[in-house]
Amino acid sequence: MTVLEAPAAPERPRAQDEGQLERATERRNRRTYLALLLPGLLGLLVSFVFPLAYMVRMSFNQGAPDGVIVETFTLDTYIQPLTDPYYWRVTLDTFQMGVTVGILCVIVSYPVALFLARSTSKWRGLLIAIAIAPLLTSAVVRTYGWMVILGTNGLINSSLGGLGLIDTPLKLTNNMTGVTIGLVEIFMPYAILAMISGFGRLSPQLEEAAGSLGASKFKVFTRVTLPLCLPGLLTAFLLVFVLSISTFITPRLLGGGSVQVLATEIYDQTTGLLNWPFAAALSVILLVLFGLIIAVYQRLTKKIGG
């Protein structure tokens, strides 16, 4: 055997064989990609689809005190949260928290994102990394940090008290104020990330052009910069909004039991009152709220980006 013989020159297949060959490779390809996809799909089925499906089914059961569950098919679990004023209050509070956190977060993230989008500094990469790195730190730790800053004996109250500016400590934790401040900071990296990606069309040339045509700084900002940033700002707002309405750790810790939102209510119903069908119904309501907002968002981005 000589080396020359090793890679046998492929014989040119006759025309009628070509289709067969193609089909054979297609079949083999099919087997390969199905084998590659299957483990992942099964993993998601078990850890994602089954739990959600089971929860939706559970929401149509009847809950009784002490964790007794009556297997049935009823809408009672939905009627209660939709008719009881208390749950309307909780849902509205959740919604309001989402809007407030979303707006404030966009306001504080915008200058940073604008700075990062325009920067030509060699430190730009590092500064972007620093701005989004908090995403990968524990939400519990960051919330704890805010408890240290905002608490009765915390940084702010001690400093203001030490300076003689206040007599009684400001109430910044165990209420919505604390939860809002904490959430605004915690979601800033998400907002900044969404904005940098959304500011694609922003270019210094456009701003310079407007300036050289006689527009004032203020006009350049309101007529050129801001409109170009709008899609990015909207994306960031909606992202922070949906993250806020479903977040649990921060309302629990900084709210200290006196802030009730849908997420804390779901937890209480699950572990405290053991009313699983009811907790499931609240979750489905939260999911529907979520789905609606994402649908609206996709409509809007199509319109703006179109």
């Binding site: 090793a6 483990p39 620093i130 940090g145 800053i149 499931a280």
Partner: protein, 276 residues
């Protein structure tokens, strides 16, 4: 590190503009706000005050020395490490092949399958957590390692898929085709050609999956609060009940672990790309 866009460099220098330093100061303050909770935890962890208060009275390492004796933290650390390591291995084994299929093959439902793999990130974790605790009840998986691990697989797979796809997208398939023509079988092609190409994505996805699982608190809280509390669950409980600084020292260690992950991801593929 991404290089600055050279073409957008200013051609002529504008005159001094007082708005510029003001804007710079504003951005600096906002960075300070963003990093405030992490920075304050560092300060408190070295302060000798017995209870949480300001200003620090002195510098001490006693909170760090206390950590090994705090058995709840050590237990939680053990549980979280075991869970995070196993979750990472599982999602790499599930996610990398799936990403390969999504990038290297053509099939009808491709876009739908890809959205499906990324969709767990769109579902609030409290909702997923509730679904899991309900489903795991009759299966007797609550308060077990298996339960927490299954719970974390859903929320970490999207990261691995995304980073691996990102690595695959930046390369063309000609190297693999060349290897195949030269007679390599599919396994050799994967091991010797594809794997080196996707290595950055796999590493980034793996360490992100690790830290997301290690820091995850909501699913762990629902599924295993009473029987097998993870470290974040222990920290959560501790913070609710006491005000000393031991938990600050622990938080610093958690922040340093996150920082290590950030550095690795930034090095291999860029944090912004990986978390997009």
């Amino acid at each position: 590190m991404s290089s600055a866009n050279a073409s957008s460099a200013k051609v002529f220098k504008p005159r001094f503009n007082p708005a510029k330093p003001a804007f710079g100061a504003l951005v600096f303050l906002l960075y300070l706000f963003l990093l405030a909770p992490l920075l304050i935890v560092f300060v408190v962890s070295f302060a000798s005050n017995q209870y949480l208060s300001f200003p620090p009275e002195g510098i001490t390492l006693k909170w760090y020395e206390m950590l090994p004796q705090e058995s709840t933290f050590m237990e939680g650390m053990k549980v979280s490490l075991i869970v995070a390591v196993i979750v990472t291995l599982i999602v790499l084994a599930l996610g990398v092949p799936a990403a390969l299929a999504l990038d290297r093959f053509e099939f009808k439902a491709k876009a739908a399958v890809q959205s499906f793999f990324l969709s767990p990130l769109l579902i609030p974790s409290i909702v997923l957590a509730l679904g899991m605790v309900l489903l795991f009840g009759p299966l007797e998986l609550n308060n077990t390692y298996a339960g927490i691990i299954i719970g974390h697989v859903a929320i970490t797979i999207p990261f691995v898929i995304r980073t691996t796809l990102m690595s695959l997208a930046t390369t063309d398939t000609s190297c693999e085709a060349a290897a195949r023509i030269l007679g390599a079988d599919s396994w050799t092609v994967f091991r010797r050609v594809t794997l080196p190409i996707i290595q950055p994505g796999v590493i980034a996805g793996g360490v992100i999956a690790f830290i997301v699982s290690f820091d995850e608190a909501v699913i762990s809280l629902f599924v295993a609060e009473s029987g097998l509390p993870t470290l974040p669950v222990q920290v959560l409980r501790y913070v609710e009940n006491s005000a000393d600084a031991a938990v600050a020292a622990l938080s610093v260690i958690l922040i340093l672990i996150s920082l290590a992950v950030v550095v690795v991801v930034e090095r291999v593929m860029g944090l912004r790309k990986a978390l997009r």
